[in-house]
């Protein structure tokens, strides 16, 4: 396969606290800022605490989910002092790290998140980006004792609503399981190791190495399933079944239990074979999502190197 070249990735942003109660990113960014890390080899690094007000009160957001505010439409909509905090903050971040879609935008944006789901380490990306997928391949080779997975949300960049879409390239690192408001050392160490490897990769890439092509698997979002709910109150009437709980990325087939009602009845899955993820994510109760379902796809990566 023909090699694909990309310009050097010399400006990288690492963001945490996009959701104020997802603590790994918060402490990672605070630590980098305390140590005044602004350069790693050939790469200049900027660190951002995305939602400081939400971090202050240790909540996901103050008025609205910041990580849904980065569509082209919302970034360009007029805002006043009385607009929701996160809408204004998104535009500030866009000015600082973007603007999205322009040449001034950072080359790579890495946004650190946590989930209450048992998802291990995942990279979340919008579209098939060879650069991000090569980083995935590299992480998988360097972190052999850990499953590193890619989740692809098939959304065109203009409609892409989350922070990492502001960079020329970007992805979210999602690590779990970790309760909101809690920092677990094992999760912290996992993400730190991944970020260290990513920076090593960036050095190698910028210095002219060719990264061989190959195959990677990715999970591409198909649909979501909500909890059974009381039609009058909207309250959930069941919890994720214990046989699905913590079994993210294990194939779900027709007839498998998915919910156990609070009175003890089992609800079974009726659909095509798919892979569940974000199973029982705390923040998704209000978004009416008990779990997402994905198809597993195989992608053939071309070799890549930096443009001469």
């Amino acid at each position: 396969m023909e090699s694909v070249s990309f310009p050097p990735l010399s400006r990288v942003a690492v963001s945490g606290g996009t959701h104020g109660n997802e603590m790994t990113g918060v402490y990672m960014v605070r630590h980098l800022q305390k140590e005044k890390i602004d350069k790693i080899g050939s790469v200049s690094v900027s660190t951002v605490l995305s939602n400081p007000r939400a971090v202050e009160i240790c909540r996901r957001y103050v008025e609205t989910d910041l990580n849904r505010c980065f569509t082209e439409a919302l970034l360009n909509s007029p805002v006043t002092d009385s607009s929701p905090y996160e809408l204004r903050r998104a535009q500030e971040l866009n000015a600082q790290i973007g603007p999205k879609g322009s040449k001034e935008a950072v080359d790579l944006l890495i946004d650190i998140h946590n989930t209450t789901s048992n998802m291990g380490l995942c990279l979340i990306l919008y579209s098939i980006d060879w650069l991000t997928l090569h980083i995935l391949k590299y992480l998988q080779s360097k972190m052999a004792s850990v499953e590193v997975r890619a989740i692809q949300l098939d959304i065109p960049i203009a409609e892409a609503y989350s922070l990492e879409s502001v960079g020329k390239h970007g992805f979210a690192i999602e690590a779990g399981p970790q309760p909101n408001g809690v920092v677990r050392a094992d999760i912290h160490n996992l993400v730190k190791e991944a970020v260290d490897h990513i920076f090593s990769w960036l050095q190698e890439f910028n210095s002219g190495s060719t990264f061989e092509g190959g195959e990677v698997e990715a999970y591409t979002l198909v649909k979501s399933i909500d909890y059974p709910r009381n039609p009058v109150t909207g309250e959930i009437t069941a919890a994720v079944h214990s046989q699905l709980q913590d079994n993210d990325f294990k194939l779900l087939q027709r007839g498998n239990p998915i919910f156990m009602s609070f009175s003890g009845e089992t609800v079974k899955y009726d659909g095509e074979d798919l892979y569940p993820f974000f199973v029982n994510e705390c923040a998704y109760y209000e978004k009416k999502i008990a779990f997402h379902l994905a198809r597993k796809i195989k992608l053939t990566l071309p070799p890549i190197k930096v443009t001469d």
Binding site: R30, V183, A239, V240, S242, N280, C282
Partner: protein
Amino acid sequence: MEVDQVVPLPRLPRVAVCGGTHGNELSGVYLVRELLKLQREVMKKEQEEDSKPALVLLVLSNPRAMQQCRRYVDTDLNRCFTHATLNGPLSDMAPYEIIRSRELNALLGPKGSPEAVDLVCDLHNTTANMGLCFIGYSDCDWICLHIFRHLQMPDTPMRFLHFDVSNKESYSLDSLGKHGFAMEIGPQPHGVVRSNIYTAMKVGVQHMLDWIRLFNSGNVFEGGFVDVFTMVKHIDYPRDSETRNITAAIHPCLQDRDFCLLHPEDPLFQTFSGETVRYKGTEPLYPFFINECAYYEKGIALSLARKRCITIPAIRVQTEQEQQANEQGFASEEEE
């Protein structure tokens, strides 16, 4: 005390099961809602079996916090039940939870009076890997200790935690009843319902209600031994002196190891730059509430307890004669 001497104790006609005292600890919220739904059937069953039914009060303690799925709105409800807070002056601007604590005191108490409910069971969750814990203020409340002993949970480790706090200083909801304890189950993230945790709590509450029914019907419960963990102290996270932000997380070797003996020099914390901070105490102690989310703001990374084996006597419900003699005894004490 002779283990085979049976201690007669007053009947427990009124029991309260409370959930949502912290609005984001969801097992209790959904369990109380479910029990409210089933309440009529439960009471009907007790009448059919001709056992002496207990009145079960089902309470959602902090509805506003539940609505927002937060621990509390203004202040931690479960610290608002000291005599001082319940009876002090109340301003118009009083925090929601202070007002609510007085409503609950009127409903389930008044604390310390003969009108108080006989038993309060307050349902909680923790992000710590604590299995099922009974948390009480006394290590000699035979009712609570017997209920604990009666619980059989095949897959869930169970422990009795004792906070040595006097009745005057007791601050939590369960102190409103003549007897009381919190049923704490983890690990579960706040704002999440895990099916296994919900089921464990449901079974726990059911066994407790079964025990109360048996007790009220005259069953004799044999004496025996119970391991009790008594809280000794808390340890806070290392913090930045200026910002007060934590500078370390619970060490991977300690994380999830609630109730595994911690020895001097065992790892406690791992700083964000990778160094290990070790336990400097001189006495091996049992850690619990390791990395509980709500305790970061209270300055508690983990708590430490001593373990003792308590002997509990056999108990049964008082007969009507014994009850009357008891009441007369109180009356004449008051006259004097």
